[in-house]
Homo-oligomer: 482 residues x 2
């Protein structure tokens, strides 16, 4: 069945095998290569797709038209990796990890040939797969996920071949709201169908409500508390592409919930992702409660000296709750890869965990969060106070001072910052970094009130909005202490 | 000579006297009032000008035309303070502080009447005065400072009455570069004459060089290493206003240095400010080497239980160097006032010190700094490494990703962050807050590399520019450790 690939006995080089050629995997490979040249370390990387090191986070902007060329999303091409001495095998899927034998089996997706490749060090960077609910009609033409560049291209092909103008986005998390913006930019009438009470369930509902209202103000139809039951197909097909393929009758025409039907010429699934860990599970590697690989601080798979994992296929420690979470985000994947590559390359680096920072936007609305939501704090057994304030991005008298709302959670008694959420316009989103660093440092809201932040009228009110929230939180902490 | 004002013996209220009605003084008064009502605390505030609580930092934008009305710069009017039960005396200058007698002498600037006012608690918030070098011609018509609202109005009057189109700004610090922008916006040809080797001496010269080049790119003539020797007057007067006043012959017509003369229809002095502490000095209160009042952490003047000071008239502890500095900045003044008011009001608050964060802009160029420059580090006896990187404000493929340069200083051996300087376009400036919080928390550059900052393509590259600098600094620290 498989041709066994054994190592040349004269080759004393160590071999690093990387499974998955995207952010985490190729960052690890690149960093290991930087530290150890081809004479010392052989690097073989398997990628089942046709691309490497691409920015999945950039797909909504490609679909929306801000990014014009697919290749702009590719940070480093296969050729560039190969020039750096990485033996990169595209369209080659790893089908098995043999941990006791220290080898992986891979299949060439074009020829179907399989072979085993032994490793001294293994990096698992298999990423995440989009959640695709097993609904009737979910595989119909006109229904799209947006995880890979091929997904993005397929959606763009549908958009350019579709005469309709109605789009339904299922899900109102980051991907959902970003895709709503993309489709608005493409001239679609957009409906967002969302299971939760408000969009952006990574925020508390009171802050999600602000997003809801702002999105409606942009002309987006928001349907909350709605569970999609099926995707209706046939009859309404308007795609030139499909007509030419004689598939017209089977394409999506509406999204159905218990209560209603929402006509759709195109449907985008933006429900979220799960760790892609089937291989790891089959190999008996340790997975957490969210299905992601569990690693130590050096990003080594727990209990396995020579197996590393990073990016969207691992769980990360939440420094606030002390629990593992699954967060699929390119910035973490790149850090993990850098750390793994440093360790494999003979250096030393660790990933301490996350505070859960995220930022996004819908048209000109900026949405950011870090730390714990109210329900996270309760789940972690923490008692907290919460405050919400309104301020502006610049001095009130300066042109284009944009309103923003900041919500802050602090621990009762100690006053330790637990979380911050921001919804506003230009200049709101990246302010969350102030709170992210303060959370990492374990600061109290009282310590935050004297932070020496950049001030000038075009950049901030004299009290930065984050400090205004901190001041109010101090008062609230004191009130509860009395 | 003076009518002694004694307290009604039936009045058991404590009296707080505030000297100076701007940010620090009126913040202190307002916060004290919030905590203690008029039945408990009498508050008397003396202000020699006609305004209270105005934003001096906003004056360049008023002159430049972004802010259209003077009153937009007034955060709280005299009437609003009075409504809150503060006995505010405008156009009343405190001329003496009698510390042993616990009273201040004040003169009504309109009537000339003087009187003594006893205090239980005293807040000194006398601010700063602009440096006005004793040069020939410095008092000529057409030469302007920009410290007070009256200064701003006088400059605006000159601009609207002047037919000329040539402006010279003396000084290339924050005020200088902001006034250069304002005058460009007013349609002037602007020359900036600067004593230092590069503009923005709050940056290292290599970063100041970037500001220099960018300002030249905006059409501003930059003259560095130039000491102004005199202001030439007469002959060139073009002001309608002055002609009507028959003063034409004495108005400014050029700025002279050792080497050259720069024709000027208007001259703006933006050389900086010094603490206004003549009163405090005469009263024997402790001043530091920069001429500012010295306080404890609660903002109490050292050695004086019932005298407080804050804002531009005090020195602040630099947390990095361990030394006192003078930094005139509205955001500190507001914090000081808040802290003093809390303490006077029976609460407890402290100001730990500063890390020296500042942000500014010239047209679309953003300039930011925090912590120590190279020469500060040397002066503090610290050995350091330094790195400089280039990155962008957004993902490289996202529209309007603007270039920025980040310079970072870290302590040798420990890798502790010592300072960060940023020069770039939109989105560059406020990124300095990340470093400001990290400095406050005493983080190492290695700790910074794993900071969980907000990432999405419209907001940041996958590695935030500050983290790119931190990564390079880590490598540099390691290189020096070998």
């Amino acid at each position: 069945m498989s041709m066994s690939r054994t190592r040349d006995t004269r080759d004393r080089r160590e071999r690093l095998v990387v499974v998955g050629g995207d952010a985490a995997g190729m960052s690890a490979a690149s960093q290991a290569r930087r530290l150890r040249g081809p004479d010392e370390l052989e690097i073989v990387a398997f990628e089942r797709g046709r691309f490497t090191s691409f920015s999945a986070c950039g797909i909504p902007y490609w679909v929306g038209g801000e990014v014009t060329e697919r290749d702009q999303l590719v940070a480093r091409t296969p050729e560039e990796h190969r020039e750096r001495g990485i033996d990169l095998r595209l369209r080659t899927e790893v089908t098995e990890i043999d941990v006791p034998g220290a080898r992986v089996r891979a299949r060439d997706l074009d020829s179907g040939a399989e072979s085993w490749t032994p490793y001294d060090q293994l990096v698992i960077a298999t990423g995440a797969r989009p959640i695709r609910p097993p609904l009737p009609g979910v595989d119909a033409p006109g229904v799209h996920g947006v995880q890979t560049l091929d997904d993005g291209q397929a959606l763009l092909d549908t958009l350019s071949a579709t005469e309709g103008h109605r789009a339904v986005v299922v899900g109102a998390g980051y991907i959902g709201v970003e895709m709503a913006e993309a489709l608005i930019n493409r001239g679609y009438e957009v409906t967002v169908v969302n299971r939760g009470a408000e969009p952006m369930s990574t925020l508390d509902p009171d802050m999600g409500r602000l997003v809801h209202e702002a999105m409606e103000g942009m002309g987006i139809t928001m349907v909350n508390n709605a569970e999609v039951t099926k995707l209706l197909t046939g009859g309404g097909g308007t795609s030139l592409l499909e007509r030419s393929r004689e598939l017209g009758g089977s394409r999506v025409r509406a999204v159905a919930t218990d209560d209603a039907e929402y006509p759709a010429d195109v449907v985008v699934l933006g429900i979220g992702v799960r760790p892609e860990t089937a291989l790891a599970r089959a190999a008996g590697l340790p997975l957490g409660e969210h299905g992601g690989l569990l690693t130590d601080r050096a990003m080594r798979v727990r209990g396995h000296e020579n197996i590393w994992a990073g990016g969207d296929c691992v769980e990360v420690l939440d420094l606030l709750s002390g629990r593992e979470r699954h967060i699929a985000l390119g910035t973490h994947a790149n850090k993990h890869g850098q750390i793994i590559g440093t360790n494999v390359g003979g250096g030393y680096a660790t990933f301490p965990g996350v505070v859960g920072t995220a930022v996004s936007k819908v048209c000109d609305l900026e949405i950011a969060r870090t730390g714990l939501r109210e329900k996270d704090a309760r789940r972690a057994g923490l008692q907290y106070v919460t405050v919400t304030i309104e301020s502006t991005s610049r001095a009130g008298y300066y042109p284009n001072a944009a309103p923003m709302t900041v919500k802050m959670l602090a621990e009762r008694r100690t006053g330790r910052l637990l979380g911050t959420q921001i919804v506003g316009r230009e200049g709101a989103g990246k302010r969350v970094d102030i709170a992210a660093v303060a959370l990492t440092a374990g600061m109290t809201v009282e310590q935050m009130t004297t932070l020496d932040l950049g001030y000038a009228p075009p950049f901030s009110p004299v009290w930065d909005p984050v400090l205004v929230a901190a001041r109010k939180a101090v008062a609230e902490v004191r009130r509860h202490a009395e």
